[in-house]
């Protein structure tokens, strides 16, 4: 029967629909609103402003002048920028790869009460990620310094030669990568422990009953079920590595020469030392596009057969 609905029935239906609409759409939106506002104010609007600035010639004390795409044209011929670009890729690739391996190893070791004093170890490995990167940089410069560094002092005390940790270009890059991994791994370890603890224990029990080796258990159970957490770690570590600045600046000032100079330091230098805000904005826009592209690729590759149960 498709008769005309009574006003009472229609009223109740509307009420339910509106309530449902509120609970399902509006309420979550209201809860998200503060975050959305913060995101818009501090990310979206500055990004749009940055894009606008990148089309101008602008010093701190002068009015911006619109110059179209001239900054981007200059950027493509700027050898120093491309050197910092390739340094950034090298730094990010090795930092993220080592960071993931090291933090996963730590998480696996400190997840199942396999070690005595596990909580103490977790804290010890986590502490570096709480420190300011400037503090970490100063401490490691004191450890790795050519003449005044502790490591070289010990080596020389035993009759050895000092190692040029920070004055040889390749070693300097390796040093800042290893220190970055040391400083950041604790944070990702905590995320991965969270992921490991979410894996049902029954699966491991079943694997043990079936006689699966630890390696097979890791390959067939842990890794697939940790994939979504690993993806989060991958994306966070990548974004963080692209934005690295303080630690490297304190340890090497980007040197020797340009050996450890990354894009962010070049942006800072161009903006504040050379007083070219527009050109620095163009660099930032390119960095933003790079991070966006890398993140999309990571999601595409890692998330292809993702199981978001």
């Amino acid at each position: 029967m498709y008769g005309r609905a009574s006003p009472l029935l229609f009223g109740n239906l509307m009420k339910k629909t509106v309530q449902g609409n509120f609970h399902q759409i509006k309420a979550p939106l209201l809860f998200l609103l503060p975050n959305i506002l913060i995101f818009v104010i501090f990310i979206i609007i500055p990004a749009i402003q940055g894009l606008r600035m990148s089309l101008t010639e602008w010093g701190v004390f002068t009015e911006p002048t619109f110059i179209g795409l001239a900054n981007f044209k200059e950027l493509f011929q700027d050898k120093v920028f491309w050197r910092t670009f390739s340094n950034t890729l090298v730094f990010s690739f090795f930092t993220v790869a080592l960071m993931m391996l090291y933090s996963l190893l730590l998480a696996l070791l400190l997840n199942k009460n396999a070690l005595r004093g596990e909580k103490i170890f977790r804290s010890l490995f986590y502490i570096p990620s709480l420190l300011s990167m400037i503090t970490v940089g100063i401490a490691w410069r004191f450890i790795l310094g050519d003449e005044m560094g502790i490591v070289n002092y010990v080596l020389r005390s035993f009759g050895g030669e000092g190692i040029h940790w920070l004055t040889n270009g390749n070693l300097a890059m390796a040093s800042v990568i290893l220190v970055s991994v040391w400083a950041g791994a604790g944070y990702y370890m905590v995320i991965l422990i969270g992921g490991l603890q979410a894996i049902p224990l029954e699966l491991y029990e079943a694997a043990t009953i079936d006689g699966a080796s630890p390696a097979r258990t890791f390959r067939s159970i842990t890794l697939p079920l940790l994939k979504s957490t690993l993806l989060v770690v991958l994306v966070l570590a990548t974004i963080s590595s692209f934005k690295a600045y303080e630690l490297i600046f304190v340890m090497t000032k980007g040197g020797p020469g340009y050996a450890t100079k990354l894009i962010v330091q070049q942006v800072y230098q161009v903006a504040f030392m050379e007083d070219r805000m527009g050109y620095a904005s163009a660099m930032s826009i390119l960095l933003m596009i790079l991070i966006g592209l890398v993140t999309i690729v990571q999601f595409r590759i890692s998330g292809k057969d993702q199981d978001y149960e």
């Binding site: 701190v60 004390f61 120093v80 410069r141 310094g145 050519d146 003449e147 005044m148 040029h164 920070l166 004055t167 270009g169 300097a172 340890m251 090497t252 000032k253 040197g255 020797p256 020469g257 340009y258 230098q269 504040f272 030392m273 050379e274 007083d275």
Partner: protein, 417 residues
């Protein structure tokens, strides 16, 4: 009529009282001056100590002191100025002065006789503090000079009469002498540490007759025989192990190397006297004349206090600066911070190191005048970091000195268009 007269008298008295009260309120209005400072050693503490009597005599004035690390100082100051929120008073170095000079409030509107004020300070310092309209925009506080501080004990151990040899030595003579010093002191590894800054590099460059800019300062001219010779020499002393690579290639602090007794000498500045007085206990040190290349030269510099066009408390800021810069306060400040005074009439009896200050002053006297003008140039300040990078590229052997100077000129000249 009588009533009207009485009424007018009362009205006059009442309004006079009101105006008088208003004036009093204006003069004693509670003011908090935001003051930004950086430290070479203990300058911010000494500044507060120095102005203590002024603040007691002017209880309506308070100082909100913000101490910022020198490495972040320029950036922070620029952002505050461009954001329309500059401090009321700031300590400013010569380098920073060239960048912010157009934002500084001229002093002439706040003093009775600006010419008299100018005459109170060293002419070279006044020259730094003039804006393009030829107005004084900052009070000079300390004069600085680059120079060489050496480990006297190490020279004594090598049987070298430091006072005698340093009177007329050249850089080639210095190489031989300092090699003997290293040989005679087992702990000592190097002859000289040079601060990792283009400013300190330029000390040697000027001695080799080099320069950054052309004569009328309208373009870069880093590509000149003097500068190329300096770069070749600088690479040579690094490669031969007389100068530690860890400073220019690894950002190690040369003052720490000197204090540890690892280097025989340090090309730094007059401000290092304060630091070494406090920290060096294991050996005797002193300031000596730098070796000669083509000429003798130092690099003049200084520190200043200034207020800004955008300051909300210009009058009180200017009063505070004037008081801080008068003879008594300036002498007290320079005495406690172990700095050379910028005042022409200063007679400071330092408890020690008077002879060291005399050496710095004697080096300043033979320094060519154009050196100050170069370091006052706003466009040069934009390219100094790139110059530093190119010098390191030369030291690494990645570019030749000729390529480096050409690169610097090409980039630097984009700022002179």
């Amino acid at each position: 009529m009588k009533k009207i007269a009485v009424f007018l008298t009362i009205l006059l008295l009442a309004t006079s009282t009101l105006f008088a009260a208003g004036t009093k309120e204006e003069g004693t209005k509670e003011t908090t001056l935001s003051v930004m400072w950086f430290n070479d050693a203990n300058e911010s503490d000494v500044f507060m100590k120095t102005i203590d009597d002024y603040l007691k005599a002017n209880p309506h004035v308070k100082v909100d002191l913000q101490v910022v690390a020198y490495s972040e100082y320029d950036q922070k100051l620029k952002m505050m100025i461009s954001g329309g929120n500059p401090p009321d008073v700031a300590r400013i170095s010569t380098n920073t002065l060239s960048v912010v000079v157009d934002s500084l409030e001229p002093i002439d509107g706040y003093v009775d006789d600006i010419e008299k004020v100018k005459q109170e300070f060293l002419p070279s310092m006044v020259a730094f503090a003039m804006n393009k309209d030829n107005k004084l925009v900052a009070y000079p506080t300390e004069a600085t000079a680059n120079g060489m501080i050496v480990n006297k004990t190490a020279f004594d151990n090598a049987g070298i009469d430091l006072d005698a040899v340093s009177k007329t030595w050249t850089w080639s003579e210095w190489e031989k002498i300092v090699s003997n010093v290293i040989a005679a002191n087992p702990k000592m590894k190097y002859g000289l540490a040079v601060d990792f800054t283009p400013h300190r590099f330029s000390t040697i460059m000027y001695q080799f007759n080099g320069h950054f800019l052309n004569a009328d300062q309208s373009a870069m001219e880093f590509n000149n025989p003097g500068t190329i010779n300096t770069l070749n020499w600088f690479k040579h002393v690094h490669d031969s192990g007389l100068v530690p690579k860890s400073v220019w290639l690894g950002s190690e602090n040369p003052a720490e190397l000197f204090q540890a007794g690892l280097v025989a000498g340090h090309i730094g500045g007059s401000w290092n006297i304060n630091t070494y007085n406090k920290n060096v206990k294991d050996f005797e040190w002193k300031v000596v004349n730098m070796p000669k290349a083509a000429i003798n030269s130092s690099v003049p510099g200084g520190k200043f206090v200034a207020s800004f066009k955008g300051s909300a408390n210009k009058v009180e800021a200017q009063k505070l600066m004037a008081a801080f810069s008068d003879n008594a306060h300036n002498e007290a400040y320079c005495l406690d911070t172990f700095n050379l005074s910028s005042r022409a009439d200063a007679t400071i009896d330092y408890p020690s190191n008077s002879k060291d200050f005399d050496v710095f002053l004697s080096e300043l006297k033979v320094t060519p005048a154009f050196t100050a003008n170069e370091w006052k140039n706003t466009n040069l300040s934009k390219v100094t970091t790139y110059i530093k990078e190119q010098i390191v590229e030369v030291l690494l052997g990645n570019v030749t000195p000729e390529q480096a100077v050409a690169n610097v000129d090409a980039k630097g000249n984009t700022y002179f268009k």
